[in-house]
């Protein structure tokens, strides 16, 4: 392998690996901006990885599998909102419970439906969309112009979410709910409805991310396969300073770490895999400690709101 190939390969795999994390991180960002902290992203992604595989297996269509995963994740989002918004339960604890639930239920369902069999959905995999000509550009050609459609969707969602949050009336309403729900309430905004909406849409994005991880990247479900990607997404939102573009750059950086870690053995490096995988988390801690400028979360994030 020459250097250009390695670089090109790295970039291609970076964007691919970034996609599930980016989708989940955008979901988390939307929830965060409405005042909801969802530690349970990992669990929701994990459930989605399984639902997507099962859905694809039974419908023979990977898109329908993804839709199933998004629907289930959306329901979990509504459930999260019911507990934390309507019943004002502690968001962190509910999130932790969702993670435990994700580990348990994805395994239980897998054993129930497929026993010990290994199910591959490779035959239904997403088709790559290659743009003739452009895909042959060295280094970036394959990465930018010969990817699966979900990769394009994820990265196109970045400007879409950005526009939504900062340029539309409903985006302003959403941010105001995350900053000061009482003020939003006095201006006639239904705080609960906003947060329910953010939770459902946000979790659907996590579902999409989980689905792409199993059906897009690995073509199968394995127990605990998300391997902390939900927490990386959480880290990316903070490291990206609660802005869509920042979140995107953070996910690309973190995914690059994963891509490099996977590449290390093949180029004969002795740097241990586990040391490299720590990097995103350590970087996030450094960011939280304020060494890379101030990170200001939405003022009402994590706090329950009581109407009236």
């Amino acid at each position: 392998m020459n250097a250009i190939d390695i670089l090109g390969g790295l970039l291609t795999s970076d964007l691919r690996m970034a996609t599930p994390i980016l989708l989940s991180a955008l979901g988390l960002l939307i929830m965060n901006r409405s005042g909801l902290i969802n530690i349970g992203c990992e669990g929701i992604m994990l459930i989605s990885t399984f639902i997507a595989v099962a859905g694809t297996y039974y419908t023979h269509n990977v898109w329908l599998g993804m839709l199933c995963a998004m629907a289930v994740a959306g329901l979990l989002g509504a459930f999260f909102a019911f507990l934390t918004v309507s019943l004002r339960a502690n968001q962190i604890v509910v999130g932790v419970a969702l993670n435990t639930l994700g580990t348990g239920i994805s395994t239980v369902l897998n054993r129930m439906l497929f026993g010990m069999d290994f199910i591959s959905v490779k035959e239904y995999a997403f088709a790559k969309i290659s743009i003739p000509g452009l895909q042959d550009i060295p280094v970036i050609g394959q990465a930018l112009f010969a990817q699966m459609p979900v990769v394009y969707i994820a990265f196109l969602l970045v400007p879409v979410v950005s526009y939504f949050l900062f340029r539309t009336p409903i985006g302003l309403d959403l941010r105001s709910v995350g900053e000061n729900p009482r003020a939003a309430d006095t201006l006639g905004i239904d705080v609960y409805k906003m947060r329910y909406g953010a939770a459902i849409v946000g979790c659907m994005l996590m579902g999409m991310g989980g689905a792409f991880l199993s059906t897009g990247l690995l073509n199968s479900f394995q127990e605990s396969m998300t391997a902390n990607r939900g927490f990386i997404a959480l880290a990316a939102v903070i490291f990206g300073k609660y802005k869509p573009t920042g979140v995107m750059l953070a996910t690309m950086l973190f995914a690059l770490g994963l891509a490099v870690a996977n590449l290390l053995p093949s180029i004969g490096s002795t740097i241990p895999y586990n040391i490299v995988t720590m990097i995103p988390y350590l970087l996030t801690i450094v960011a939280l400690a304020g060494f890379v400028g101030k990170v200001t979360p939405p003022a009402a994030a994590g706090k329950p709101y009581k109407k009236g």
Binding site: I37, V96, A97, I105, T284, L288
Partner: protein, 368 residues
């Protein structure tokens, strides 16, 4: 004043009774939901439950298994509860447990020639310190840099599991390094068995001793009072001259140390050496234990007992009925969700508030 004392007695009773009844209710509902899930899998839920109970309590061996599972849960439950009493959300117990297991392993494997009376406490101490460092980092980051402890603990959990994986695959791997595991701990650093012919080890007694200390510390000591004030109202703590920053660091050190002891007792009493998956999630279970126990000492014992039963009985249930042991995670999650979902019942002494507000009105003030 005599009359007042009677009222106090009643209101205290009703508060404790409410706590217990709400917790019990949450657990019962969670079990019913879980049985429905088991029924949906085509298994007789009564059979599954009875298998679980007999696996956890049905014999000397079963009870010993429950005690074994309870031990780390008591420690992580106290860890979460202590931090929570100080107003902190420590969800880094899992990571603190891993680091505690790692440091205990190092002390238990690489310090030869000591008598047990020295080596055993030393290894425990190493485990405590490992966890304390991991927790202390969180405290320092919060006090010095204002970094939110929820996020830093989440991040440090993953760092810790990766650290342990790295260590057992590299620096402390058992020669020649074929398996991802450490060398076995020396006998002088292994917790003795307290029930002959079972796996029940001294760790459970040590854990229960710590529960007593936990109670004395929080409710009878001046430092414990400071910590509770800091947790309930940090502004009031600062106003009265309490050094809240120092207390946060202290609490995170102790909480981390308690989780570290969970890891230490696991390697010293159960597993005998360090594996990359030393804990099946005891750290996160600690949240549930503490929630059910409402951050109180007896409550934590009850919560750890419940989850000990689930963990110990899960395997026999799987063997007898084919219900995967992962269902235990589902049950735990449902228990946690039920407990937090009923939180408003727990604190929502509607009647109490009503009485107080009525008093307000009588005095010419309406609280708004």
């Amino acid at each position: 004043m005599q009359k007042f004392d009677r009222i106090k007695f009643r209101s205290n009773m009703s508060s404790a009774a409410r706590q217990i009844s709400v917790s019990l209710m949450a657990v019962v509902v969670a079990l019913i939901i879980s049985m429905l899930v088991i029924a949906a899998m085509g298994v007789d839920p009564m059979k599954a439950m009875s298998k679980m109970l007999s696996g956890a309590l049905g014999s000397k061996n079963a009870i010993a298994e429950t005690l074994v599972k309870m031990t780390p849960l008591l420690f992580t439950g106290m860890s979460y509860a202590l931090a929570n009493r100080c107003g902190l959300t420590n969800i880094g117990m899992e990571g603190q447990l891993y680091v505690g297991a790692l440091t205990a392993t190092i002390a238990g494997v690489y310090i030869p020639g000591l008598p047990m009376i020295v080596h055993l406490p030393l290894t425990m101490l190493a485990g405590f310190l490992g966890g304390a460092i991991w927790g202390g980092i969180v405290g320092v980051l919060k006090v010095r840099f204002g970094a939110n402890e929820i996020i830093t603990t989440v991040m440090l959990n993953t760092v810790a599991t990766n650290l342990v994986q790295y260590m057992v695959n590299g620096p402390i791997t058992e020669p020649p390094g074929d398996d991802a595991q450490s060398s076995p701990l020396l006998d002088s650093a292994s917790l003795p068995i307290i029930l002959k012919g079972t796996r029940a080890h001294l760790g459970i007694l040590i854990a229960l001793l710590f529960v007593v200390l936990f109670y004395l510390f929080l409710w009878k000591s001046k430092k414990g009072y400071e910590i509770r004030v800091s947790g309930q109202n940090p502004n009031a703590a600062i106003y009265s001259g309490i050094n809240t920053g120092r207390n946060i660091i202290l609490v995170m050190l102790i909480a981390g140390g308690l989780s570290g002891l969970a890891g230490a007792t696991e390697v010293m009493g159960v597993q005998g050496r360090l594996f990359p998956s030393v804990s099946p999630g005891y750290g996160f279970d600690g949240i549930a234990v503490s929630l059910i126990g409402a951050n109180t000492a007896p409550g934590i014992v009850a919560g750890a007992f419940l989850f000990g039963i689930l963990r110990a009985g899960g395997n026999s249930m799987q063997r007898a009925t084919g219900v995967p042991v992962a269902i235990i995670s589902v049950i735990q999650a449902v228990v946690i969700l039920m407990v937090v979902a009923t939180g408003f019942l727990r604190e929502g002494g509607f009647k109490r508030k009503k009485a107080a507000k009525r008093q307000n009105v009588q005095e010419g003030g309406v609280s708004q």
